[in-house]
Symmetry: C2
Subunit: 322 residues, 2 copies
């Protein structure tokens, strides 16, 4: 008789479960108070629907056949299913749509990495509000939600998910090299990035921009230096930073020009959430203006997701350090 | 581009989701107040673990391979995973173990039956309390939980899941005919049952007992008539009824000698929950004294599960009728 559970999954016992439910409940109340209505989507969907997310979002951890031989999969996030819901059940809706969720998802993890394959995400999706106004609302709510969950020292990383890709195109780096360079950046391996850029044999100023720009990380001063063909992206980040200052959360923001989220659907601003008490991101998100259109009803949108278990670990770590 | 979702699954939009969460929260509070601690188990488990439940509980709606070729499946209830947790994580625990859950499960449904393949269950498992004392505690909490969820007219069906099987054995009905007769009873098809019993060519009193006993349904008077070899089961039901009277919930009880739950692990008392406002069971459960032992650490146990969506439909129906 097997007693084990699959790698990357776990049993949660009552003491921990009580605390996870309390965090989940506080996140949900914060979202509800901000006007976000919760939705639930099926645990299992057609793989073709989930693949609309592209990249990591399209790579299902578990796949199976239904009784008609169609491929089903467990969702790897809630953003793609909610894009489907927005394009089908709310196709005719005018005005912004504010949806939230709290649900388990599954991702592909390497063997023996100790990473969780199943995780509980709570998050929001703001549909129909373009530009920095939408992004600032989402970030403001994420900061409030983490405070409600008991964190005090959390930070927000803000970058542009398309910046480096546009830079590579503008500097005429051959398309077949993009994947390798973006992978270095996704892994935050700036040494490997520099080696890979050197192999391209570019002019010195182009080479320096590709190596140095993703290292810019900090306050608004990182937006002051020249960025060549990436100047437009920096202008948008400056606007977003202004919005975040007006919301009073600028002191929590870390501008990060090397931030690239590995989900395939981001088109502009990308976010990550951190806490100095722990060494991993608590969640992330960004703008995905083209995803809902892939289901037939184009609308601009952005969102953010929190990993409830990681938020719990950060909350415990903050308590122990204070 | 496919926009559909798999048959038997659904998207839940905010108005309904708010009400489902409210019900879930009230059930969870009732369980917590009664001393039950919530657990969470992986959405996906090894099929061999889930198969320990036998029968319906072992029949997974979705199966898949992991990267080592082992068969994984989506759970069809939470009782089998919690039996595994009780035998592994609480193997050395003394005294009763009180666990609860609120989680989605998946069952096999016929095509075009309109039945839900994915459903949200909230329930309790009481481990280490044998006999009618354990059963009465579980039923008392289920009645309280439904009242907390807004129901007023709910009822509890109580039978013995092994009664008919023992009757067939005692009356020396050939073993190869048992499945057919039990299937008639599970479907509540008493006409088909009578035809099948007639084919057995038994003596008149044995034939009459097999046809008439499962029709006995009502108050404590159904326990008064003779039951031949099933007399011992009726004695136990009489004890349980006495316990339920002392708890003040006897007026909600319907004794039902034809009640057979189709899960493979029940060994004694079985329960179903009803509301006169709707035509389907809101949940069910029973005693499963042998299941935890299949994971290596035998303990008596019983439990009950509520289908949150069905409780919601019943609550709405009660409101409309009042």
């Amino acid at each position: 008789m097997i007693h084990q559970i699959p790698a990357g999954t776990r049993d949660v016992l009552p003491d921990e479960m009580r605390e996870l439910r309390a965090i989940e409940e506080r996140l949900r109340s914060t979202f509800a108070d901000a006007g976000y209505g919760e939705v639930w989507t099926p645990t299992v969907e057609y793989e073709q629907v989930l693949a609309a997310g592209g990249g990591e979002a399209g790579a299902a951890a578990f796949r199976m056949f239904d009784d008609q031989g169609k491929v089903l999969a467990l969702r790897s996030d809630m953003t793609v299913p909610i894009a489907r819901v927005a394009a089908t059940r709310f196709a005719g809706a005018d005005g912004p749509l504010r949806l939230c969720y709290s649900a388990h998802a599954h991702r592909v993890v390497g063997q023996r990495t100790g990473q969780q394959r199943e995780f509980l995400q709570s998050g929001i999706e703001l549909i129909g509000v373009p530009g920095t106004e939408g992004e600032a609302e989402v970030l403001g709510i994420a900061v409030d939600a983490l405070a409600a969950a008991g964190l005090a020292r959390h930070r927000v990383g803000v970058g542009d998910g398309g910046l480096y890709r546009r830079l590579l195109a503008a500097l005429e780096v051959p398309a077949q090299r993009h994947r390798e360079l973006l992978d270095c950046l996704t892994r935050r391996d700036l040494v490997a990035l520099e080696l890979a850029v050197d192999e391209l044999g570019l002019a010195a100023d182009a080479r320096d921009l590709l190596v140095e720009l993703p290292q810019r990380r900090g306050g608004p001063e990182v937006l002051d230096r020249g960025a060549g063909p990436a100047g437009e992206a920096l202008d948008r980040l400056r606007d977003l930073y202004g919005d975040l200052e007006r919301r009073g959360i600028a002191e929590r923001v870390i501008l990060d020009l090397g931030l690239v989220r590995d989900l395939g659907y981001y088109t502009g601003a990308v976010f990550e959430l951190y806490d100095p008490a722990v060494g991993f991101a608590l969640g992330g998100g960004g703008r995905y203006d083209e995803l809902i259109g892939r289901f037939g009803a184009p609308r601009p949108a952005c969102g953010i997701a929190l990993d409830v278990q990681r938020v719990h670990i950060a909350q415990t770590a903050e308590e122990q350090q204070s």
